[in-house]
């Protein structure tokens, strides 16, 4: 029977050709995968996005710190307002006394 293999090379057996072909196909698949990944530029874009987010993190932490301080200051203002409210109720008596004095 004649050989059914195509393009037999001189001095190479069928097994050798087959193993070469399998190796080249594997390499092609691997190269294709790498090219697909490289062409999508996903690695660059994602690493750039992660870097930008790390840069922004400092600003975010600072903003959170400022907000917490504002909340504490607001609480202090509330305490002061309650103290003022308590003391301002005496002013009516004071005013009556002064009006009486200045008559």
């Amino acid at each position: 029977m004649s050989s059914s293999e195509s393009h037999p090379r001189f001095g190479q057996s069928v097994k050798g050709l087959l193993s070469d072909k399998v190796g080249s196909c594997s390499g092609d698949v691997i190269a294709l995968t790498r090219q697909v990944l490289k062409g999508s530029r996903s690695q660059e874009l994602l690493s750039q996005a992660a870097r930008n987010m790390v840069i922004q993190e400092d600003a975010i932490l600072h903003s959170e710190d400022s907000l917490r301080k504002m909340s504490i200051i607001t609480t202090h203002l509330q305490y002061q307002q309650e103290a003022i409210q308590k003391n301002v109720e005496h002013s009516k008596n004071l005013q009556d006394q002064l009006t009486h004095l200045l008559k």
Partner: protein, 179 residues
């Protein structure tokens, strides 16, 4: 006998099944030329003669298709090769997936942080609105305080005038007393 053996061998190369079937049906019909190959159908396939003898066709070396069954370890090696290739390709793609997961986690944490900040901001806004309302309700009292401050200033002026008048009176009294 030899011709019969050659013809049977030729039949083998064309199709194996009819040969084994015929061999199974006619065990007695096998000649001595086929004494090498047993009658059993399963063994006929196992001991089919190897055919990879080369033919020279116009100076080009060719080979024939191997008809013997593959060695048992070849299948294992092939399976192992494809499994490892699959693992490698999966590893190549997993890198990008992990980058996406990292970004997803960072975004989730940042969104949690922003939600906390939103809650704090809402609290601050509500508290400041209450404070503004309370300070607005204090306004009449603050006006009273302003009036009190004016009245106290007027009282102070009156006290200075009284003090000056009383000093004048004291000086006149002392003058009259000396006379």
């Amino acid at each position: 006998m030899a011709a019969t053996g050659d013809d049977a061998a030729a039949m083998d190369s064309i199709s194996r099944a009819p040969t084994t079937h015929s061999a199974a049906l006619n065990p007695a019909g096998t000649s001595s030329g086929q004494g090498e190959c047993p009658v059993d159908a399963t063994e006929a396939a196992a001991c089919a003669p190897k055919r990879p003898h080369t033919n020279s066709d116009g100076g080009v070396e060719t080979a024939e298709e191997a008809v013997e069954p593959a060695e048992p370890d070849i299948n294992e090696l092939c399976t192992d090769m494809f499994e490892k290739m699959a693992i490698f390709l999966q590893g190549e793609l997993t890198g990008t997936c992990e980058d996406y997961r990292l970004l997803e986690n960072m975004n989730k944490l940042t969104s949690l942080k922003y939600m906390e900040m939103k809650d704090i901001s809402i609290n601050i806004s509500r508290n400041l609105q209450d404070l503004n309302n309370k300070y607005a309700s204090l306004q009449p009292y603050l006006d009273q305080i302003n009036q009190i401050e004016e009245q106290v200033s007027a009282l102070e002026q009156a006290a200075y005038k009284l003090d000056a008048y009383s000093k004048k009176l004291e000086a006149r009294f002392k003058k009259l007393e000396k006379r």
